[in-house]
Symmetry: C2
Subunit: 334 residues, 2 copies
């Protein structure tokens, strides 16, 4: 099964609606419409059917996933009954998920080894001891076709080709063998990166921050796990139509179940969480000595997950902090 | 004005309710009750008054702040009319905020200088160039009196005394002089830390992660900015009643408006975001060469913001990843 969200313009403005299909080439059905019609067939009044279908199939994918099996049952029934409105998704797609939390791992060895060499560092042992991650911003997600805003604090824009893992069911302290039933499915993630400020801020040791938060691409759809071949997925990028990367998800040194299990260790892994795999081997510009320019079009393609295409915006101006004076080292202990 | 949330047990289970006061010693009023009564006085039926007051004053503080002035107007009116239910908050308090995003800064120079020396590192120049931050987990927040879960992957538990800044109104690319009107107020934040795993994972350069995500303390209430003296706030900690820290928020090297402005640079700063100041100078156990033990009680006190008290729980067992083999350096470029 494949899930996506489209923008629908109505009297209350633009609202996202969840659509689903058994075949991404179509037809796609509007899940709330199908659920409303199903409720009416059970004797619900049209007002009650609207109210209940809106509660079970909200516009927020995270809110939908929070309802446990109710939403997934409605989605499956919508696809099977072929009773929803058939919708043309092409120009309407938005992010398939509005994540409640976004945690990005780094599990492709060739990519991360390059990253440390690029910064003149040894590859730390801890990357082989457990899957290391950081948490990113959730308010900068953009969907298919949306322009990447170019923040005023960078001159070096880059992209990162990643696999996105969407958590469907919450859990805590999961073991890897329990992880699969907590995963809704996979999608394409573009972890856009401002390399200059990223390098500066990472010198503080708190990880990537403003170098990442301005935008992340997501979509075009989520494919549930039964749609994914066990052998891994081919992962490719093209910039302005030119092939920059041709890699595979089979090169991950930590498995998806291990990533999910470690994300849940000692903390609540909420429905609607997005986990990133980290960049595929070769899946960034720095690995080819290249930068992105305003107006470039970045296309990521992952087998079964479609193509995620985003144009790069133009630089703007904005406020920058005034540097502070460092106290002399002898002052720094009181 | 002071805002908090209490746990209310009803036929639908335990739900949080927002309470407010002009004096934290009381009385506190239930804001939704006051708003419902106000609506009834305007002619709303009791059903409609319930429906509307629930929409304007939801249980989620983030959802309440998302409604713009509607929620703050209802809160002000509730305090002034003295018409809400008066509630005893002492044993009922929960986190005053369910943050949509939590971003932690590091702006106390003596504390961060200690941290780098502790790890055998120089203090990086970037800390004086802009306020550096990382994003933390949002699902591990605990309120006053709640026990800190001790995750299975640590033997070294510590606390951190921080000022929490609550964003009330959303914004993007704010300048420092615009920041204040986007701040709802301040609260106490305890950034509990598992130092052993934190040190291991920070070697990867992605910042603190599992060493922080298991729990953060928040509360007991939020004080709006007009309650805060311009000269800064006294910040103290006590462990099992013993004073460990006596510091001040006036020692921040970046101001609260600068922190808020930089958090909004190039990205959407959403209502309900929590910004942490980073640890006050002397506001952690490592700075005193001390660790926390199961059963210890950590009390943080900040002037005007009350006392946040949390007992430390007991270690549990859980899954740990099996280390991977590193490829030889000559294999690592294909």
């Amino acid at each position: 099964m494949f899930l996506a969200r489209i923008r629908h313009e109505g009297p209350d403005g633009i609202e996202p609606r969840i659509v689903a299909t058994s075949n991404p080439d179509g037809p796609w059905v509007d899940v709330r419409t199908a659920e409303r019609r199903r409720l009416e067939r059970t004797g619900a009044t049209s007002w009650a059917a609207r109210r209940i279908s809106r509660a079970i199939v909200p516009g927020s994918m995270t809110a939908a996933l929070e309802s446990g099996t109710a939403f997934m049952d409605a989605t499956r029934t919508a696809i099977e009954s072929r009773d929803g409105e058939h919708v043309q998704i092409d120009t309407l797609l938005t992010t398939p998920l509005d994540p409640c939390l976004y945690r990005d791992f780094m599990v492709f060895e060739e990519h991360f080894s390059f990253g440390y060499r690029w910064r003149g560092l040894e590859v730390p042992a801890v990357l082989y001891e457990f899957p290391v991650s950081y948490i990113g911003a959730i308010h900068g997600f953009i969907g298919p076709g949306e322009e990447v805003p170019w923040p005023h604090y960078t001159d070096h824009m880059d992209y990162e080709l990643e696999l996105g893992i969407v958590i469907g069911r919450g859990g805590r302290d999961l073991r890897p063998e329990e992880a699969e039933e907590h995963i809704l499915g996979l999608t394409i993630l573009n972890d856009f990166s401002a390399r200059d400020i990223q390098a500066r801020e990472m010198a503080a040791g708190l990880g990537p921050s403003k170098g990442k938060h301005f935008a992340s691409g997501l979509g075009p759809w989520i494919a549930t796990l039964e749609e994914i071949p066990a052998s891994g997925l081919r992962m490719r990028s093209r910039i302005n139509g030119e092939a920059w990367c041709d890699s595979s998800s089979s090169e991950m040194i930590w498995s998806i179940p291990e990533i999910v299990a470690w994300a849940s260790a000692g903390e609540w892994l909420a429905p609607g969480t997005l986990l990133g795999s980290g960049t595929a081997n070769g899946g960034s510009g720095i690995e080819r000595g290249k930068k992105l320019n305003p107006g470039d079009v970045v296309e990521l393609e992952i087998e079964r997950l479609g193509v995620l295409r985003n144009p790069i915006g133009r630089p703007r101006s904005g406020w920058l902090p005034t540097p502070r004076k460092r106290r002399s080292p002898t002052d720094s202990i009181t």
